[in-house]
Symmetry: C2
Subunit: 477 residues, 2 copies
């Protein structure tokens, strides 16, 4: 656990040390009475581990509950509400927007013991408790000839509950849709400790819970749709002398009828970071590298689609390398999967944005963000899911030496580039605490008021994950 | 327009004659001042046409506005709010749950003049105002090699706004998803006359609006996802000596890996009604008729999938007829498409339910509903989208001779069969006014309270389509 992680928040409570032992002891005692000692963590040394997610450092919780059932969650919520403390749900804490990092001392409910999973091949469904690891769903479904497509980068550790709370995406999502598209039914516990079981029905409350980052309710179980895996996959890498040509190639391929299952982009700085790390022979001079998979039931169709992409890349001035074997395809994808460790060698910390812009605006957006990076003291790299226009500009910095406010300011200016080009703040990581201040730029005041109204309706006490998504009130008028 | 249509509602206002001229004249004058005379209907003879949808008869509106732009909708909403009267949105009024039929005299906003439509092939998107006819989207997209898949039965007349308000489905939805799955962005006008433009982002307010039947806001425009049409389609019809065998065949085919694009079921009464009408040579003795399409990019795969369905049908005791040509396929589908006119010959009116049950429960559900029909004075026929377990039990009756309360009571008992078997009330038609009383059986009181909270947050005055979806308060505790 890195104590250098940085709280990018305006909420001063988050930077306070864990509150005095009194409140913590009383809450832990209540919880232990309700749940037994095995499910409650009350020692400071244990609680300290539940302060952070993969990008943000928060407040030390007063107590941590490790529920094993929905009933345990109900008991924990009721105890926290009786004590008047906030409640933050937590999966694997691999999120990239601070969604699982508490901003105030309170109760953290960590779902990692709720791992019941069943596969129903005849209905092509899985029923998974919130703590089931994402990859485990596909592992259990595969013997039945089925998979669960959503593939966020952390899918080997992330949980279904966390994925749904953030409505996580991944490379497969261009063709197959995001986590929420696979939810047939949802169980959640509300702020009052009531259990709700919802299908995707009129007044799609389940859909509202998905992506609400634990601010409207705590997701305890989901019924997930499964699909048969594609029988064939083919891969190519292309590189381009400039970003516009890469974006043009993608638009051209899609217009020609290709629906690649993955369409990933890396800018020059990103490619060089990976090349420094792995020495794969990547084109260091290319302004844009594109990685593409096509997949499907029929090999001819899959190859035809890859050919459409190849022709579009060449027509746009790109240089194409087609993987001859599955092994070569896996090698090409290793470059993309190694972005995170490669960046970690440059600076210990990064601010990872998640903007989505119209694909036609991508060349301008990439150029403007690079200019912002060049004018700043921080390295800025860009990569992402170009098929959706989902870009991850990353600001690399060292919190021991560099100014957190300057990082936050640069992140804000990057967000404004996206908004100016008709984009949005989050494609798959959520808003969390990290980008909530930028919501005022992204959402008009009337819609913000409507979102606040919905929040008040479902969480009247405001106990659920306070300080996330919605900016502080009274400032945006 | 049929004046025999029946108001199946507990709201007495709906049965009152149009309210006295005074309120109507004042509202029409305000609206005419704001919008000009061409966009306002104030004569009683004109207003009478806006009382009903395809299944329900409501209250005569005080005034009708035919907006041509979002600004017109804003002006109309503000005038209605100033006058303190309710506001009901209306597309083609082809809905089957009373969603567009006003229950109290007020303002009806009819979107049929908001027909601006543009296709963006490079983004595979259409931007459609609320009044665009569903089929028009595919007609405009097809020259670009794209289609808009949602195909509710009325798609030749229904509008995008109405489809989204009800989150309409259709036969294609088993493979391709319902209307809401194709929405990338949404514009709506709220109860206060504010315009909101939403993408499918965190706090998926757009998703909440979809399927909320005009009770949370008025959808004015949507950005819709388009897909390339399947290159090949193949069709078969199978019939079975009992319903269980048909449901089993469907489960077997899906488990074997087939993903048919359409999977339609008709029970014996339904088949005989169609046969009486069209004399197509349908199997009158079969307890269940199944109609199946498979489609895709690759003819071999499409034929393989149809073969999997055929084998599953035979293994379950069915008799299969495979269409040799596209013309024969079209002929087979004519049977399913003629259900509505065929039923109209038996009784002038029908109560059309829209339950969804687990497919494994389908044989019991069909049997129990048939028993309820047999014990009642009304013919009951059943058909629907069996792939999703979406069944449409229809109670046929003559409102001039038969007791509306007995129809409502039978409809309620049919809804309870679905709920008892783990089903829900609406797959694609919405709840409207017709099934709102049954919501108390379908949704627990805590979730009903949450839905009411959301309604109050987005429509504090309660002006938007009052009396729909949510049952009257104070009864369910």
């Amino acid at each position: 656990m890195s104590t250098e992680k940085l709280a990018l928040t305006t909420n001063s409570a988050a930077r306070k040390p864990a509150s005095a032992g009194g409140a913590s002891t009383a809450l832990a005692a209540d919880l232990t009475r309700a749940l037994g000692p095995r499910k409650v963590l009350s020692n400071l040394s244990e609680r300290l581990n539940y302060r952070y997610d993969a990008i943000q450092f928060g407040a030390t919780p007063l107590a941590v509950v490790l529920p094993e059932s929905t009933e345990d969650v109900v008991a924990a919520v009721r105890a926290a509400r009786a004590a008047g403390v906030p409640i933050v749900g937590r999966g694997a804490a691999s999120g990239l927007s601070g969604g699982a990092a508490p901003l105030e001392p309170g109760l953290v409910i960590s779902f990692t013991r709720m791992t019941r999973l069943s596969i129903h091949p005849e209905r092509r469904e899985a029923t998974a408790q919130a703590g089931v690891v994402t990859l485990a769903v596909t592992e259990a479904a595969r013997p039945h000839g089925l998979i669960y497509p959503p593939d966020p980068a952390s899918f080997r550790t992330s949980t279904i509950g966390g994925n749904l709370a953030e409505n996580a995406g991944g490379p497969m999502c261009f063709k197959y849709g995001v986590s929420g598209d696979y939810v047939r039914a949802l169980e959640f516990v509300d702020e009052g400790g009531e259990v709700h079981r919802l299908t995707r029905d009129v007044f799609d409350l389940a859909g509202l819970l998905i992506g609400s980052e634990g601010t409207l309710g705590l997701i305890t179980e989901a019924t997930l749709r499964l699909i048969p895996p594609p029988r064939f996959t083919r891969t190519l890498m292309a590189h381009f002398p400039e970003v516009g040509a890469c974006a043009e190639a993608v638009s051209r391929a899609i217009a020609a009828g290709a629906v690649p299952s993955k369409l990933e982009f890396m800018d020059r700085a990103c490619t060089n970071a990976v090349e420094d790390y792995l020495h794969l022979g990547l084109p260091r001079d290319a302004e844009a590298v594109l990685l593409v998979d096509t997949d499907g039931e029929d090999l001819d169709t899959v190859q035809d689609e890859l050919r459409l992409v190849e022709e579009a890349c060449v027509a746009s001035g790109g240089t194409v390398r087609r993987a001859a074997t599955d092994e070569e395809g896996a090698l090409l994808w290793r470059a993309r999967r190694s972005v995170s460790p490669a960046l970690g060698r440059i600076r210990p910390q990064r601010m990872n944005e998640d903007i989505v812009v119209p694909r036609s605006a991508l060349p301008d957006v990439v150029r403007e963000i690079r200019a912002l990076g060049d004018a700043s003291p921080f390295p800025v790299v860009q990569f992402g899911h170009i098929g959706d226009g989902n870009l991850h500009p990353n600001i690399l910095f060292d919190p021991r030496r560099e100014d957190a406010h300057a990082v936050h300011d640069l992140a804000h200016r990057i967000a404004l580039v996206a908004i100016r080009h008709g984009g949005v703040l989050s494609g798959e990581h959520g808003i969390g605490s990290m980008k909530r201040d930028f919501m005022r730029d992204a959402v008009d005041p009337e819609t913000l008021a409507a979102l606040r109204g919905v929040k008040r309706a479902l969480d009247p006490s405001g106990a659920l994950n306070p300080g996330k998504i919605l900016p502080a009130e009274g400032v945006d008028g």
